[in-house]
């Protein structure tokens, strides 16, 4: 249909301070009325030079910095770095430490997905689920707090083990949580999954095809929602993940609704892993003794783990004669997911952009570092 009157495209600057850009991302939108013709992301508003800082720290000192790389799942960042360093230096953490790591990683994944659940529903206008999500997250944070004393940036997983053993009251509290949490996930689903408004807002919005996802390096739940059954926990097992039984939920279409369902199911699966890990938890040491002057041999490694936002990779190059790494490069899942966004929001409404951004679960520190 040819327009009988002249219309004009206009530019809207969305961000860096905008309620729904999850931090400080900026989009320059070319809009035709409500329709997004073109979206160009601008990043770097949270570029804190973490990589440069890590080059000037010893391996142990890197860990607190890594916590700030992806603060929603700090445990994963620490673990990715420790895994890389351990691979480099050929260290094996004690079995109990590995189990504790798995428990912490999976709890942290649940906590991160709860943040995603909250912010996503908030971005689509439902305020109450946000508070429900944060309510259960506080329970998980209580568990972390009694273990390592921090709520967000834990510095718990160390090279060759974990910093301290769990306190005696941890296990009963965790069991209580395992008992309670599935019902809460049902509650969350009851609020949104069947809600007709939620369905029309998410179904067939922001479709990410399999080819596009792989080409752009999209990973994690976003990739699985597009129908690729790929999970590093199963396909490139690290830690003890080959000992646990869990399903990998996948989607079919790759729209926002699929990504929502995949993440909801992942929470349940993570809880399953925690449960198994708790049952198998052995007694023993929690830390390998490292030499005081820890210098990994010359070499390089790119190790990747499955984070709640996709593949988190740490590349470390060690010169061999230094306490400090020569180069630490961090790769977060959000980086590639933000990169693919202009492709899939094109032609949608401005509200779809918000929905896609929320369902991709992009957080900016992972992009900017």
């Amino acid at each position: 249909m040819s327009a009988p009157f002249r219309t004009e495209e206009f530019l809207v600057n969305m961000g860096p301070h905008h309620p729904s850009t999850h931090g400080v991302c900026r989009f320059l939108l070319t809009m035709d009325g409500e329709v997004v013709v073109k979206a160009v992301p601008y990043i770097g508003y949270l570029h804190r030079a973490l990589e440069r800082i890590c080059e000037n720290r010893t391996y142990h000192q890197c860990l607190p910095v890594l916590d700030r790389f992806e603060y929603c799942t700090s445990m994963s960042c620490e673990y990715a770095f420790c895994l890389a360093t351990e691979k480099l230096a050929g260290i094996q953490a004690p079995e109990r430490a590995e189990y504790l790591r798995v428990i912490m990683l999976e709890l942290n994944r649940i906590a991160s997905h709860l943040i995603w659940y909250g912010t996503t529903s908030l971005d689509l206008g439902a305020v109450t689920p946000f508070l429900y999500g944060f309510r259960e997250r506080e329970d998980i944070l209580d568990l972390f707090e009694m273990t390592c004393g921090q709520r967000l940036t834990y510095n718990y997983i160390r090279i060759g083990g974990v910093s301290r053993d769990i306190p005696p009251e941890f296990i009963p509290k965790l069991k209580e949580f395992i008992e309670k949490f599935p019902r809460k996930v049902d509650d969350y689903e009851k609020l949104l999954t069947e809600n007709p408004i939620w369905i029309v807002r998410n179904k067939n919005v922001g479709i990410l095809s399999k080819e596009l996802a792989l080409g752009y390096g999209v990973s994690g739940p976003a990739l699985r929602a597009s129908g690729v059954k790929f999970d590093l926990r199963r396909d490139d097992p690290y830690s003890l993940y080959d000992r646990f039984e869990f399903d990998i939920p996948t989607g079919t279409v790759g729209d926002c609704y699929d990504r929502y369902l995949v993440r909801m199911e992942e929470m349940r699966q993570s809880l399953r892993i925690v449960k198994q890990a708790l049952e198998q938890l052995p007694a023993g040491d929690i830390k390998t003794k490292l030499p005081p002057n820890f210098k990994p041999p010359k070499g390089e490694v790119y190790s990747r783990i499955e984070n709640s936002r996709g593949e988190m990779g740490i590349y470390i190059q060690s010169a061999g004669d230094s306490k400090k790494p020569l180069r630490v490069k961090m790769r977060g899942g959000s980086y590639n997911q933000l990169q693919v966004m202009p492709e899939i929001v094109k032609g949608g409404k401005i509200a779809d952009l918000v929905a896609v951004m929320a369902s991709m679960d992009i957080i900016m520190p992972e992009v900017d570092r």
Binding site: G125, T128, L131, N195, I197, R201, I350, D352
Partner: protein, 347 residues
């Protein structure tokens, strides 16, 4: 009743002083208007506080607790603060339009109350075209939103203004059709007569099967859209348009928009009560208590919506109105008309 008595007393006293009829009218109606205005200001203050408490308790929080008992002073405190805030007019704004927009919103919101019966005899003026007047006046609000959107010279505000215009225009139609089915049965546009036609509880229009409940639901949905509340709060969609049409407003002007929104919500509930829930009618209690109870119950439903549902997208909103609500309300109107004239259901 009592208040109506006082008003009548005042009117007679003024008439007996020998003033001309015009002056008596002007003075007595100004007093009545001031009373309504004061009442609505209190209602709006209360509703803001109530909404915060309700949302808090739905979300397992407490809400305001520190100012007075359970924070009942909170809205007053907010008002006092907003009065003290700097009044910013952006340099690029269209100044007169920007300046008048909140005032128009404020006035339009309050003008509807001329013909709303708060109780038996408690009405400022029983116009014989009452409901028509209200429909005309409430639509006036969108002009203020458009003015705010345009005058701010801000793209988000403009988008918000355009959205609200489109939304109100498309939801006005099913709403009027729903109201029309009631008017058809009552045989009058006057609010008082509509209320009086529902004397018994089974005569309430919400209970008149089959058209009554459908008309009520359509009215409630359209009313939610009309007062710009979730799931239809697109004009001020926080996550998309930052704050929509009022993004550039600060201080008192913002407070006026805020108040107008809550007064509008009360209007929607009050009309719903009058048309469908038997207005002030009810046993034992004074009539105005019944009216307030029913209206506040409807307000509670509106608030419940807001804190439960996600938000629709703008095109889905239009589709819902034109492709679903409009045909349904039209069919409903035809059913109502057939029922009225077939004499089958002659209550």
């Amino acid at each position: 009743m009592e208040i109506a008595g006082i008003f009548k007393y005042l009117y007679e006293k003024l008439a007996s002083t020998g003033l001309s009829q015009a002056w008596v009218d002007i003075i007595s109606y100004s007093v009545a208007a001031l009373i309504v205005f004061g009442f609505l200001a209190v209602v709006a203050l209360f509703l803001v506080w109530w909404e915060r408490k309700i949302s808090a308790h739905i979300q397992q929080r407490f809400g305001p607790m520190r100012t007075g008992w359970h924070g009942w002073l909170q809205t007053i405190v907010d008002m006092l603060k907003l009065i003290q805030k700097e009044d910013i007019t952006p340099a690029t704004a269209d100044r007169p339009v920007f300046y008048w927009a909140p005032i128009v919103a404020f006035v339009a919101a309050f003008m509807a109350y001329v013909t709303i019966p708060f109780g038996a005899g408690l009405i400022v003026s029983d116009l014989n075209i009452g409901i028509l007047y209200i429909i005309a006046i409430t639509t006036f609000t969108i002009i203020s939103l458009l003015m705010a959107g345009w005058g701010s010279n801000n793209k988000y505000a403009l988008l918000g203004g355009m959205r609200s215009a489109a939304q109100v225009v498309s939801y006005e139609v099913p709403m009027v059709l729903a109201i029309l089915s009631v008017v058809l049965f009552a045989g009058s546009l006057s609010m008082v007569q509509i209320v009086e036609s529902q004397a018994k509880i089974y005569q309430w229009y919400i209970f008149r099967l089959p058209f009554g409940p459908i008309a009520f639901i359509i009215y409630l949905i359209a009313g939610t859209a009309e007062s710009n509340r979730t799931p239809f709060d697109l004009p001020e969609a926080e996550q998309e348009l930052v704050a929509g049409f009022n993004v550039e407003y600060s201080g008192m002007k913002f407070a006026m928009f805020f108040f107008a929104e809550f007064v509008n919500m009360f209007t929607i509930a009050a009309i719903g009560t009058t048309l469908f829930l038997g207005g002030w009618q009810g046993p034992w209690l004074p009539s105005w208590v019944w009216f307030m109870l029913k209206t506040l119950a409807l307000v509670f439903v509106l608030m419940w919506f807001r804190w439960t549902f996600p938000r629709l997208r703008v095109d889905q909103l239009m589709e819902f109105s034109w492709k679903f609500l409009l045909p349904v309300s039209f069919a409903n109107l035809i059913i109502a008309g057939w029922m009225k004239y077939s004499k089958w259901f002659n209550w």
